[in-house]
Symmetry: C2
């Protein structure tokens, strides 16, 4: 068995402004360690998959920093998308390139910028998923046990076991981000798992399903040459110009009969905003979470992120405080999602450009 | 009449950390305009007193930046104190140097780092005080009508008029910083005025009173040569080593029978902490006060001070947010006085030194 990680790094998130900038989106930020998140994502696979077998899809203008951050991944396997077209076209492309190479190949599609912990459980779960994909020709989606009634995630409704004695389940349905009441119901019902956006399959199996359920994407992918062929950039222009923007969930997973969901043992978080860096307090007081230098006097529940310099806080609660080389951000943790509003305002400002 | 401003600039305040540093205390900060507060203090006198007639007493190690900030004041009239000894020794020294020079001389002692507004009323009040000092040989202290039950200021209890028809009053007593209940009583009683630390007198009159009530200081001052004499630095070492640390209030004002208090028409604030830069809101919402660049979205009552870079806040209330080249400070306005705690903590930290 040979595992090919396909890392989706097309994100353009503004929710980590002011650290995230146009040329430095979330996957390139050192949010969870001192290295870019995408480097953590590759490291986490150590022992299960080699960087030389990894593929990364990112925005074309991010090729240089992504190559810098993803040492060990062959440059010809780091693909610059001229425009974002969601996950189905990206997955179809790599599946096509890997098709027929090795009957023991398994693709593992992973987001580049999520938190996964602990890594050894993650690798064990991926390995189980890969065996399932190989042995039963399934497209396996990983399902995470909800720890809270999260309204920001998609859910998977599990059916019965894929075979007697198997942990993996049939997929009864995919559920989009729910409202609060529905999320509360899901969180209390063991049939519902979070959809972590991680898919495991043989390239041939995925391609068959794309041909069946998204034939336009499959046909367009047939016309793209090998990644080391001359003229690839132009071919990618044509491909991304032709395919619809659609997720693999919608294009394939909701339609195929070969989907299976594997309930996993690791903790997962999509690190959707500054608030998701928050510490977990022992007892009543919410802990402070600090990156860089900070002194926090009589303060609780603070997320402090200093990129150089010092953050000093006194007598405050549940705030996000970020200091970059040119911006200081302060907002309550429960409004961290709204940081985009500040970015929007700067876009309207005549002299906001240097901070975007 | 010739007015000699004597500006007391010995402060070492830490309440404006992180903008204030050891080598850059409050009087050198651009808190109320784009210029150091001491420069504003000199400018405010324009038309009433010339910079060439001004004297400044500061800490010896601050001589260079004070000279830089106080253009127009002759360098020989900017005196570096080797150690701080409160206000009485400083005032005695300059009074001694000005004694007998010109019978029409009046000294106006002013703090270097307070807010005064508007300047034209301030000058008019100073002129009235100077005339009173000349005509009646009084030591006039300016009294500000309280606008709030402030516990951080000293108060002056007024007696009857110094003469029939005069606005100026006898001083019944000086009152130290009161507790909250007493402050509330003072604020509701027109006999009590804030002591703004501004004194107006003929040098000879002040010296007579120092000789009478603080003879040790007067005697020590006699032994200091003229400010342009060789060996002044050594003489100042001896002088400041010999005199007690005592305020002019305690050494002279509380004892002399020549004190008078002039109720003034200008607004005054000692700018004691970041919170004192707060804006005054119209209606219910407290206004934001911004220096430098800031975008404040759905935020009220913020004091934002950016020394370069940008402060961005979202959904916060009544906070002080300061961004300097190396530190970001966040604290509630009503705890701005406690910023010193952070400075104390940095002093204990092994690697806090760069931020002090």
């Amino acid at each position: 068995m040979r595992i090919h990680p396909v890392i989706l790094a097309g994100g353009r998130g503004e929710r980590f402004w002011p650290l995230s900038r146009r040329a430095r989106p979330k996957q390139l930020l050192p949010l969870l360690s001192d290295r870019p998140m995408i480097a953590d994502t590759l490291d986490r696979l150590e022992g299960l998959a080699a960087p030389r077998d990894a593929w990364i899809l990112t925005a074309r203008d991010l090729l240089d920093p992504v190559r810098e951050a993803a040492r060990g991944v062959p440059p010809s396997q780091i693909i610059g998308e001229p425009i974002g077209r969601n996950t189905a076209p990206a997955i179809a492309l790599v599946a096509r390139w890997l098709e027929g190479r090795d009957p023991q190949s398994v693709v593992v599609v992973l987001p580049s910028d999520h938190r996964v912990d602990p890594s050894n459980r993650f690798r064990a779960d991926l390995e189980r998923a890969a065996l399932l994909a190989l042995e039963r020709s399934r497209i396996v989606v990983l399902g995470v046990r909800p720890t809270r009634p999260e309204t920001g995630y998609g859910y998977i409704e599990c059916g019965g076991p894929v075979a007697p004695g198997e942990t993996a389940r049939q997929v009864a349905s995919f559920r989009e981000k729910p409202d609060a009441a529905t999320a509360a119901r899901y969180a209390g019902d063991s049939r519902y798992l979070w959809n972590a956006g991680m898919f495991v399959f043989q390239p041939e199996v995925m391609l068959e399903e794309i041909r069946a359920h998204a034939p336009d994407i499959a046909a367009a992918a047939e016309r793209v040459p090998r990644p080391d062929a001359p003229g690839l950039a132009e071919a990618l222009e044509r491909y991304y110009g032709a395919v619809p923007a659609v997720s693999i969930d919608v294009a394939v997973m909701e339609r195929t009969r070969r989907a299976a969901v594997l309930p996993v043992q690791f903790e997962w978080d999509d690190v959707g905003s500054w608030a998701s860096l928050a510490g977990k307090g022992l007892g009543a007081a919410p802990a402070n979470a600090v990156r860089g230098r900070a002194i926090l006097e009589d303060s609780e529940g603070i997320v402090a992120f200093a990129e150089g310099g010092l953050i000093a806080a006194l007598g405050v609660r549940d705030l996000v405080i970020v200091r970059t080389k040119d911006v200081t951000l302060v907002c309550p943790k429960n409004r961290a999602q709204e940081v985009r509003m500040l970015v929007e305002r700067l876009k309207r400002d005549r002299d906001g450009e240097p901070f975007l």
